[in-house]
Symmetry: C2
Subunit: 517 residues, 2 copies
């Protein structure tokens, strides 16, 4: 390599400076250097994102006496976490033990690998198994999250190992967590503040470039690309930055490059701010993207509602856990209602395709007893909004959905026989759990709701290690000063996660990031 | 943002310069700027890689009178292409037409989407359909590649649409292509030259940093990371750079992060130089990585041989196309032998798992007529090396592989019945092609070979558009001066490509890159 003159060096730095001043988005991945900028503020820890992972990380960092800033792009904090159902897989939790259910790491990992199509990073799953109960106990005892005192089942898990929050919403966690954060003088939550890029000192992340007074514009094709609003600020992060920015389910361009069939008419349950910008910024500093083409769909959502809606949690827990799902063309079941999400979505798409306009939606049913076994809010909200229908007889139910009555009644009767025999010879639904009970035809009312897959969760994201450090795709080692947790990471749960596992992932690796940074 | 003084700017440029001088691998993705370096050489077009895609791109650029340098890391040119079997899917080729086989874009795309699990970028598949025959005619008429004058079937295609090279090896293309390149005074092939990074002018790729006199060291855990040998050179590319560097099948670290179960005991058929370095360099200038976690395995390779070996092409074309594949534990078939590769690998892994050491390998059989329907080299090489065995009776064959004789003979007889009826009720193997004929038990000898999946092809890579321009993940637009073709690109063929499609992809997009740059 030829040596450069002082003049060359100066010329080169001018180009760099003018590119920065323009503030335009470059196609290449050059980073901002700490000696190019003057920091406006300084904290020990800067956390991007205010959902489960970011909030948990903040609480752990605050416990250590660190000064923490949480950066939130949107006008309200909590991201997708506040529209989450609020259930969390916790192997070996107290309720599970009290109910005499024996869990094991082998079983937990085997369950996860099944819907993860064997693409999971098992060493990280193992960390979730080891530490989920600690996170749960902390949330319960220290944060004051209120749980229903029982262990529940969730899709894909071969035994009951999840806990559920009383208010049947992720806000049941986020509200007390944020209250605790806001009460701490060392913490600040900066809303309407858009994270743009990392600031580097050599190979170390030492801060961020962000924009305050940012107004996210969901009318733009890409807010990340087109929205130039807000006031640029540089924030120093003495210990480092924790990226907990969530997934990219609402990023129409980026998701459609990874999964082209998600281009057009498939809805998402995510909030509109779930774009790929933060993930791309991490890739610019060398983060290794894993499994970006694995985007999980939610098999429970209702085609007659927008977004997550009011019936999905009923369909998941009341109907699919305890009742059954029916193909309205045939009156028959068509899947193991307790299978993992990917398996169920694939089965539902096939059933839908029997309709002239891809609209032969499955009908998910259960009886009153199944409703009573769950949080009453799971059903009452949908009945109120009309997304869940209530019937006095199964015949009426069949008629309302154009289901052929005789085959349908035979299906219900057969299924009740399977429950009694504790064996589903048709689809292998696990029926040995004590309160799985079929449809008690003598005890009306009966409930029903339609379902169709909607985009739920980005399995892919950046690679982390057991300490929640972000791994460089180039050095194969941690990137100094950069941690990540939650949906922005990838690989842990492979190609598909089981129900209630996102929260375990967010809480455990958020906790670890906050402990280690 | 605060303004910086001249002194600040100078200080900043010094940091950049010293980092460059060290030549170490940074975890972050900063690029080299053209005004930081002095170019040692200058061409119109620089092409990274000398396999099918790079060679085809070179020929097209040379046709336009451009000065071209091809950069090859290894001591021999041709990459994985020279160890390829040499078959190419060419919709609407002359042989297909002469045989009265009607092809259509709809059928071609439907075939590809099936093994691609619907993740294909259909607009790019459409380009392959439109232009493969033009590439084939050019190779035949202008380059002088010699083809067997018939259309052949290949796994996953519902009709015959592939052509085969006479010498039964990709070298049948590479040798005449390189001869033509080397005869052109405007071209140079630089072997033992390692591409390291792109040189940028603003957002435009204007050259490369490389190292001459490089000795690839396959004994290193990661040659890209650890091998610091060679002499640094900067090469200017006036029109731009075409990346045709192939896949990362031999990159043990990178592939195992994307697909953790490929960590340990699964072999690859790729040459040892197939590492991720060039892909990572493209990601540093903003390329969008697609489908990196989709790594295709070859279902035909032999567990008793190293690498691709001598029997895989027999198993693929003689046995699986015309004969059948047997589970030696049961003597029965276990899959549609004409399904796509992913479906077959999954089926083979299940059969293998019936062995105590995961070693219940399928036995692939056919008769003499099937051998005669194919290039004789497909079988003679393996018979010579011992990877394919020859038997006078089916009973002898069964005995040699510990297959239960009676069930095996019944399987053969059943299969012959399916062939006659042109319908496979067990696995749906398409049996309407004229020369599918089962096993003629009256006409010995019979042939057999074992199979096990080995890593074959990286479906994932960087995104390109219909002009072979590399797309920026940040601007969603082409990166100026950067083109790509072949296995280093991703998305075109989704999660799994059909047999003979890699060459079509390489040749068509190599041609387009050379035309457009």
């Amino acid at each position: 390599m030829e040596k450069m003159s002082r003049r060359d060096l100066l010329k080169m730095s001018m180009v760099g400076a003018s590119a920065l001043a323009l503030g335009s988005i470059n196609s290449n991945a050059d980073t901002i250097k700490s000696n190019e900028v003057k920091f406006d503020e300084e904290y020990d820890v800067v956390i991007i994102g205010t959902g489960f992972a970011g909030s948990m990380a903040a609480l752990q960092a605050l416990k250590r006496g660190l000064k923490v800033a949480l950066i939130e792009k949107m006008g309200r904090a909590g991201g997708n976490s506040v529209i989450n159902v609020g259930n969390m897989a916790v192997p070996n939790n107290a309720f599970q033990k009290a109910e005499g259910i024996k869990d094991s790491k082998e079983l937990f990992i085997a369950d996860c690998l099944k819907d993860g199509v064997n693409l999971n990073h098992v060493d990280l799953l193992s960390v979730i198994y080891d530490r989920a109960n600690e996170a749960f106990e902390y949330l319960k005892s220290t944060v004051g999250v209120e749980f229903v005192p029982k262990c529940i089942s969730a899709s894909g898990h071969s035994i009951k190992r999840a806990v559920q929050v009383k208010v049947a919403s992720g806000s049941g966690y986020i509200q007390p967590m944020h209250k605790m954060i806001e009460a701490n003088p060392n913490a600040i939550i900066k809303k309407r503040t858009k994270f743009d890029e990392f600031v580097m000192e050599g190979d170390r992340v030492v801060g961020i470039k962000c924009r305050e007074n940012y107004k996210f514009d969901s009318s733009l094709a890409s807010d990340d690309l087109e929205n130039t609003g807000g006031d640029v600020k540089y924030i120093k992060a003495k210990n480092g930055v924790i990226l907990a920015a969530g997934g990219f389910s609402s990023d129409k361009w980026f998701r459609a490059q990874q999964v082209p069939y998600l281009k057009t008419n498939i809805e998402t349950v995510s909030q509109p701010g779930a774009t790929a910008g933060a993930l791309l910024a991490a890739m610019d500093v060398g983060a290794n993207p894993l499994l970006l083409s694995w985007i999980q769909l939610n098999p429970y959502t209702n085609p007659t509602e927008k977004g997550f809606g009011t019936s999905a949690v009923f369909t998941n827990h009341c109907s699919n856990d305890y009742g059954l799902s029916i193909n309205p063309k045939t009156g028959k079941r068509f899947m193991n209602e307790h299978a993992g999400r990917k398996i169920k979505c694939d089965a539902i798409f096939k059933v839908m395709a029997e309709g002239a306009n891809n609209d032969n939606y499955p009908v998910n049913i259960c009886d009153q007893a199944a409703v009573d076994l769950n949080n009453p809010l799971y059903t009452s909200k949908g009945v109120e909004s009309g997304s869940i229908k209530k019937f006095n007889t199964l015949e009426e139910l069949a008629k309302a959905y154009n289901i052929p009555v005789e085959p349908f009644l035979k299906t219900v009767s057969d299924f009740n026989g399977y429950v009694k025999a504790e064996k589903d010879p048709e689809f292998g639904k696990p029926l040995k759990q004590a309160d799985v009970h079929g449809i008690d035809v003598s005890k009306p009312p009966f409930y029903a709701s339609l379902s169709t897959p909607k985009i739920l969760y980005c399995m892919g994201g950046i690679q982390i290690n057991e300490k929640a450090q972000v791994i460089s795709r180039k050095t194969q080692k941690p990137i100094a000063g950069l941690y990540a947790a939650g949906e922005v990471t990838g690989g842990i749960q492979g190609g598909g996660r089981l129900g209630t596992m996102s929260m375990s992932d967010c809480m455990v690796f958020g906790m670890i990031a906050g402990e280690n940074i």
